[in-house]
Subunit: 156 residues, 2 copies
């Protein structure tokens, strides 16, 4: 059971923006830092912009910044937006479900309850809880691009 | 976020065996009933045999039966066995993790807590709770191959 890479990148993008609030960030910054595809990340950032979590400042010195306060960005709500679905078994897929048990089975309810419990934990977490507290520069510095000095991007 | 098809098939296999305890079942029975790959199902059944949840009776009239009482088959324990992993983000992958946040981040703890909550729900469920109660043949009949009369296998 995994979350999608899409959600992983969305979380990392927001976390990076949350600890770099004093400056604008580019997609290239984040892509380079994580050695991930800029194209993939562009789609994620576009989506985050659509749902108001990222704001783009245009122009030569433009870039990205958080579209909301970290304490107002709920992780459960985010994951619901970025995951394609929570189809735990074929019975969750209304159109593609061919399971002959479907009409007389509590599996969907059971797995649905487990999924609800998963999301309930994330509903109790906001972005500020995922990153170092502001006002602690020595901790925040671990999130800066300086980490490249000790961990270069993996070769492609 | 999804469980694997492997887990889905494991659950359906055990549920089918649980409501057909008066007879031996073949892998072909289950594959035909669900119109799924017999090869894929064979791997699942082999795995279920290895962990003691399915017993194979050899011989001309042989087949499969449950290896334990339905009330003793815990769904949380099963899903832990059949899922490849619960890597919710790159930081869960000890060997492949390149996330530069890893050393100073509570994302893994947060997603780990959510996953634990998911599994905790399933830990409270046993196989007997997923299938119609025994002694109610009219309900059990919904699980019999007779459903083919109303829902033929999809064309391949």
């Amino acid at each position: 059971m995994r979350l999608t890479t899409y959600t992983d990148y969305a979380l990392r993008t927001l976390m990076y923006l949350a600890v770099n609030r004093e400056r604008l960030v580019t997609i290239q910054d984040i892509a380079t830092l994580h050695t991930i595809s800029k194209n993939h990340l562009t789609k994620v950032v576009h989506h985050l912009g659509q749902i108001g979590l990222v704001t783009t400042v245009r122009g030569r010195n433009g870039g990205l910044k958080l579209g909301a306060e970290p304490q107002d960005i709920n992780i459960g709500a985010l994951v619901r937006q970025t995951e394609t679905d929570f189809h735990m078994a074929e019975c969750f897929d209304r159109e593609g479900n061919r399971c002959v048990f479907a009409s007389n089975c509590v599996l969907e309810d059971t797995l649905g309850a487990a999924t609800a419990a998963y999301l309930q934990v994330l509903d109790g977490v906001t972005l500020d809880k995922l990153v170092p507290a502001t006002g602690r520069p020595s901790t925040v510095s671990d999130f800066q691009p300086m980490v490249f000095t000790s961990r270069p991007p993996a070769p492609r």
